[in-house]
Amino acid sequence: MTGRTSARAILIWAVLAVAVGAPIAAAASSEQLAWRGPVYILAGFAGIVALGLVLVQPLLVGGYMPGFSGYRGRRAHHWIGGALALAIVIHVAGLWITSPPDMIDALTFASPTPFSPFGVIAMWAIFIVALLALLRRRLGLRPRTWRFLHMPLAIVIVAGSVVHCLLIEGTMETISKAALCALVLAATVKVMIDLQVWRKRRALRGESIARQ
């Protein structure tokens, strides 16, 4: 039984490593890199890493990652959330340095590129979640309130990131990109179903009383 469990654990980690690693490796071998400066390259990869972290988030909070169930999974979810916000800062700052007018257009929703508003909306959703998570205790947010705020924002982050990424013609290879996006959507749908996030659960109320 333990043999099968560890084999399953290895398989899950291997799938995650390939799902995140393959798009990064494919992008790293893109011929486009030859024509880009180091800051632009860094900004692009920060974006790809951010998408990988968006996949990790539902897997952690759903307790699907072997070795990260329950409390450890939620704890890692917090740290990865912080890393995601940092990756987005690097992504946006790097693009700003590369071409200030294009980045300003994107941030002001005046960009001609159809993917920009999706990315910018996802960015703000990530920053809002990160800020709320930091202030959660200070604001005295109950688990139910937190979930009520976090779930719609999580959906915005996932949908925005996936559309943003799919519409971009850049260094990412088409199939590894589409596969990563599909996994992000699948993981998000699964965790939302498994945790029944749309239900007012008695268990949650119990949890909040226990914390107080």
Binding site: P101, D102, A110, P112, T113, S116, L166
Partner: protein
Amino acid sequence: MAIVALNRRNLLAAGGSVLATGMLAAGTSGLLLPARADGLAPTESMSGGANNYRKGAAIVDRIGKGGFWMSGTVRRAGDGAPLAGQRIQIWAHTVEGQEHEPQSHGATLTDKDGRFRLEMPQIIPIFGQPHGHLAYDSGEFKTVFLRPVMRSPKDTSLEAHFVLQPT
């Protein structure tokens, strides 16, 4: 075939070709039917068209080592008459430099038929889209900035058309 089917460019190409057909039809009807060209509307600047513009790029025979062709026409709003000797400035992120760099910029003049054509280095995708920039900014007509997008980063030519309005 499965790889081709999964390529989103093919999906976009369908929509793009519909658009292009529509634009082509609109363009040719203006040329073929002078009576209707009477109300030829001026080209509006495209959003983001002026990004990384450097005013006063020199008129050149070719930008850099070439290999890619930017071409188009310049006509007058209203009657659609071709405008000769108009200066069109062109720049893009190419294999020889980024958009803002001086060597990525150049200008050319239209011929007697209002056509222009300038060889430049291969354009590559920047900020998620393979695109070029063109400007008419000489004062006689209202300034127009265009930002045409290539249907594929592998394309080796791109067109943009100006209909200018006297100032």
